[in-house]
């Protein structure tokens, strides 16, 4: 009886293996949408990009599905951010060996934000894509890996990367110019989570979140009041919601501020760990950044 079961199981496992698309293109699997966008821009027509986490999927809250494994195993390369962003999948990446590439490897560690290095030996904030300039530094990693797999097209990749890089450069400049429309005192970003550290650092914003970036984090009334006082004192005009947080927290914040005779708006939704709908502007990295910055600047002016 047991033998039959065993063979049955083995058969199922074998059947479960996918046939990989073999059209001469490089098969890439990425984790977060921002990364997929980058790879698409570098690879262009030469790659098939399959993104595990589509629009609106928060990598912290991501639940794996059965097909993900097949996709990863069957691909030529898996790009992920690293720095523990895709926490649950670390072991998978390690097991994939060379096939899995952390794009954050290409970043200079000194440029990264380190939370409390003395206390915990340093755990980096992984939300690196909010700093456009920093983000563009992942491109060489992508180029190198793609070229390794597809050496003939190395020049194409390098060219694409260059072009995308210049897009990102202009984006960065654009951000800088938009941001300069705000006076330094106005550059305060208040959100529910603490995810915009890199944004703040790169573009001169003071960033305040209601609770830490840990998944189990929570806040107390005093913490809320401290933030309320901060908003009132500094005359912050708008606070921002992130898609994955209960709107109640922000609403409580707003009402608290109101009770102190100050008005703060909900400045709009920011994309924090995920991007917008596919086929829309916000569904691309550039579009997402634009949306965020426009939302922020317009509300704070």
């Amino acid at each position: 009886m047991k033998k039959i079961l065993f063979t049955l199981v083995a058969a199922i496992m074998l059947v479960g293996c996918t046939k990989v698309v073999d059209d001469g293109k490089v098969n890439v699997v990425t984790t977060v949408g921002m990364l997929a966008d980058a790879v698409e821009n570098v690879g262009g027509d030469l790659v098939n990009v399959d993104s595990l986490m589509g629009p609106g999927v928060d990598p912290h809250l991501y639940n794996a599905s059965a097909g993900d494994v097949k996709r990863m195993v069957g691909s030529d390369v898996v790009f992920y951010v690293g720095l523990h962003l895709e926490g649950k999948m670390i072991d998978a990446f390690e097991a994939l060996g060379d096939k899995a590439v952390a794009v954050s490897d290409g970043l200079d560690k000194k440029k990264l934000i380190n939370a409390d290095p003395e206390v915990f030996g340093g755990a980096y904030d992984p939300h690196v894509w909010f700093d456009v300039d920093l983000w563009s530094e992942i491109l060489p990693v992508i180029v190198d890996k793609l070229s390794e797999l597809d050496p003939e097209n190395r020049e194409v990749y390098e060219l694409n990367a260059k072009s995308y890089l210049s897009d990102l450069d202009s984006l960065n400049n654009w951000v800088l110019s938009r941001v300069s429309e705000l006076s330094p005192e106005q550059r305060i970003l208040v959100t529910a989570h603490d995810a915009f550290g890199y944004f703040g650092k790169a573009y001169g914003f003071e960033v305040r979140g209601l609770q830490g970036i840990s998944t189990a984090s929570d806040f107390g009334v005093k913490d809320l009041e401290v933030l309320i006082d901060f908003i009132v004192e500094r005359g912050v005009k708008a606070v921002f919601v992130e898609s994955s947080v209960s709107p109640k927290a922000i609403e409580a914040l707003r009402q608290g501020v109101e009770s102190k005779k100050w008005n703060v708006e909900i400045g709009g939704e920011l994309f924090s760990d995920a991007m917008g709908d596919a086929n829309t502007d916000e569904g691309t990295y550039v579009g997402m950044v634009r949306h965020n910055v426009n939302t922020i600047v317009n509300s704070l002016k």
């Binding site: 609106g56 929570d218 913490d223 009041e225 209960s246 009770s259 569904g283």
Partner: protein, 409 residues
């Protein structure tokens, strides 16, 4: 008040007290029906409803999601009840089963949704659960209303609810509409749970429906007192928790309230009248005190049988001297003598000892060298009535198996 610097602290304080009261009251019924953890179960069971609501609406509209959660939660509660009624599955297993199956289904739906191209689906599972520090006016109103409504229902139907909780089979025999109360209670309970979930999240909900009630049940077994006490405990925990989170930074309101409630539980556990360890320890201590005193009295009496009537102060410890004196068993002076009362009390202990030995030997066929140990214990436990009975059963014996007298000199 200096203390309430923002409107938030007011809402949180009032809201959490209302929550504590509401949960405390319903919690007693829940715990007695072994459904204390229904809060946790429903929080998990609501997931598929949320996912389906999202799929139908295509967007994240709060009201719709809440409705989905409500339907799914009620369905889950119904399934639990059905399982318990229809099979021999127990309440806790039913809850665990429904919890995990529903939740599993919810996850299945979520992973399916993940693949869809729309962007507003992030964090559907956590989106619905609020945080205690973010209580708003609407929450306060909602929770107070439910509390008052429940209070009303409980007040009106007190007798019936009591019967329903404690003896539903008996009630059914009387042709009593226990079905009706079943549904009534479950509906209110589930509603309260869901309101609490969306206001303060899973863990606080689970805790507040159980811990204050459990603590109250440690103090009393009577339903009315338990409910009142539970409401008090619930409110105090919430108030203290809210207070701490209002004055100190880095003290998330929900967890702190749970801490407060747990402290009350701990305190109750240690001191409360029935199961409390402290109480038991006190009882043990009182018992050993009694034993020591009686042993001393017995010894003194036996001494008088050998003709000794006086004892030196140094023969007896200070504490025992004090105890003997305060009970009126001795006359103190430079030398100690027994009072009449002391003599009689001493005799009683000795009599019990010897009588028991007699009983064991004559009626139970023990040999007389096996009975001493037993009698050492029983001499402190036998009451006067029992001694009389034994005396008459044995036909008023004059001596025990060792030849010692059973009558007082």
């Amino acid at each position: 008040m200096e203390f309430f610097t923002t409107i938030n602290s007011v809402y949180v304080m009032i809201g959490s007290i209302a929550l504590g009261a509401m949960c405390g009251m319903l919690g007693v019924f829940g715990v007695l029906r072994k459904q204390g953890l229904l809060g946790d179960a429903l929080a998990h069971a609501a997931l598929p409803g949320i996912a389906i609501a999202f799929l139908i609406m295509g967007e994240r509209i709060l009201a719709g999601l809440l409705l989905g959660a409500l339907v799914s939660g009620l369905l889950g509660a119904f399934c639990i009840q059905y399982l318990v009624k229809a099979t021999k599955i127990k309440m806790d297993s039913a809850m665990a089963a429904v919890l995990s199956v529903f939740f599993g289904f919810g996850i299945v739906l979520l992973t399916f949704i993940q693949r869809l191209p729309s962007a507003s689906k992030a964090g559907l599972d956590t989106f619905l659960f609020g945080q205690a520090a973010a209580l708003l006016k609407i929450d306060v109103i909602l929770m107070s209303s439910i509390f008052l409504f429940t209070l009303l229902v409980v007040f009106i139907f007190w007798k019936e609810l009591k019967m329903f909780i404690f003896d539903s089979s008996f009630a059914a025999v009387l042709g009593f509409r226990s079905r009706f109360f079943e549904i009534l209670f479950m509906t209110i309970y589930v509603l309260a749970i869901l309101v609490s979930l969306q206001a303060v999240g899973v863990v606080l909900t689970a805790a507040m429906f159980i811990t204050p009630a459990a603590a109250a049940l440690l103090w009393t077994k009577r339903l009315l007192s338990a409910v009142v006490l539970s409401v008090v405990f619930g409110s105090i925990s919430s108030a203290s928790g809210a207070y701490v989170s209002i004055v100190a930074e880095g003290m998330p309101t929900g967890p702190v309230i749970v801490m407060a409630a747990s402290v009350i539980f701990l305190f109750s556990f240690m001191f409360a009248s029935r199961g409390g360890i402290v109480w038991k320890a006190i009882e043990r201590y009182k018992y050993s005190k009694k034993v020591n005193l009686e042993n001393l009295l017995a010894k003194l009496y036996r001494d008088t049988e050998s003709g000794v009537n006086k004892w030196q102060r140094s023969d007896i410890s200070l504490i025992m001297l004090w105890r003997l004196r305060s009970n009126g068993y001795i006359n103190s002076g430079n030398e100690i003598t027994l009072t009449k009362k002391g003599l009689v009390s001493g005799f009683k202990v000795v009599q019990k000892h010897r009588l028991w030995e007699t009983y064991l030997v004559e009626r139970m066929n023990f040999s007389h060298d096996h009975v001493h140990r037993d009698a050492e214990i029983m001499e402190h436990l036998l009451t006067d009535d029992v001694v009389e009975k034994i005396n008459s059963i044995l036909g008023n014996p004059k001596v025990d198996p060792h030849g010692k007298s059973l009558k007082m000199k």
